[in-house]
Amino acid sequence: MSKDKTITDASLVERVKQGDTQAMEAIVERYSNKVYNLAYHLTRDPTASEEIMQDVFLTVLSKIHTLNNNAYFSTWLYRVTTNAAYAHMRDSRKVKKNLEDLRVKDLEKDTSQIYDWSSLPEDILLSDESKQILKDAIDSLPEPMRIVVLMKDVEGLKNEDIAKTLGLSLPAVKSRLHRARLLLRESLSNYFKKYATARPGGEQSEM
């Protein structure tokens, strides 16, 4: 079995196109956890994510001949994954209804919090507790924002791919992302403000 990281996706894909099962196994080694995790982040459902993962690889395998540029394999794979996860969510969570509801109350109020918690030490910033606060905050975002911030900031997909996958314009993706980040920042500010007085080293507000 080939575990060599130096083999490019493109050459593996080319071999799969010719029916090479070893190359296919190498692709599974390389991407199955990534596909699973992306599906899991989007659906929060471990069982569904395993099914999605299997469906995604079967879909990709059956359509691999339609991929013109082998180098775009991973982008394509993630797009198939998000589409499948998204379809699952649409069925199970009635996402579509929520998609219309993008209004967020009092975004302006958000900007009134001016404690600079970015100067806190890493062990506080990256504590299990603060990660949990952030995860809960992501989960409680309005669905359209949650999906975008998960794809972009958590999973690291490109704006263009997110737009294509969700059928949105690029500006719509960016605007959702920006609003989501401001809301998450607000949640984190609420959590970290308990350190505001305890740590006078942080940048204090003059306003």
């Binding site: 956890n33 079967l58 984190l188 940048e203 507000s205």
Partner: protein, 82 residues
């Protein structure tokens, strides 16, 4: 530049897709406006912390083996059809 305009552009500023002129206006605003500077720092850090939320589940060896078997079957079948 007003504070609200500055904050609206954080995303593009971080992505580095703005014109040089706009970049400089934001930098100038951030230098003189502590309010926006704090929001900028914490906004950037929020993005960084989100990345750390990537709870990486690892599939069992058994599960991956099963997947490979399914795919191998499917690939062999397809090759026969061709």
């Amino acid at each position: 530049m007003r504070c609200s305009q500055c904050i609206e552009l954080f995303d593009d500023y971080i992505d580095g897709v703005l014109t040089r002129d706009t970049m400089e206006k934001i930098q100038a605003h951030l230098r003189e406006c502590k309010h926006c500077r704090v929001i900028f720092h914490t906004y950037s850090l929020t993005i960084r912390l989100s990345k750390s939320c990537e709870t990486f589940n690892t599939l069992s060896k058994e599960r991956i083996k099963k997947l490979k078997q399914t795919l191998t079957r499917s690939l062999r079948m397809e090759n026969k059809e061709m």
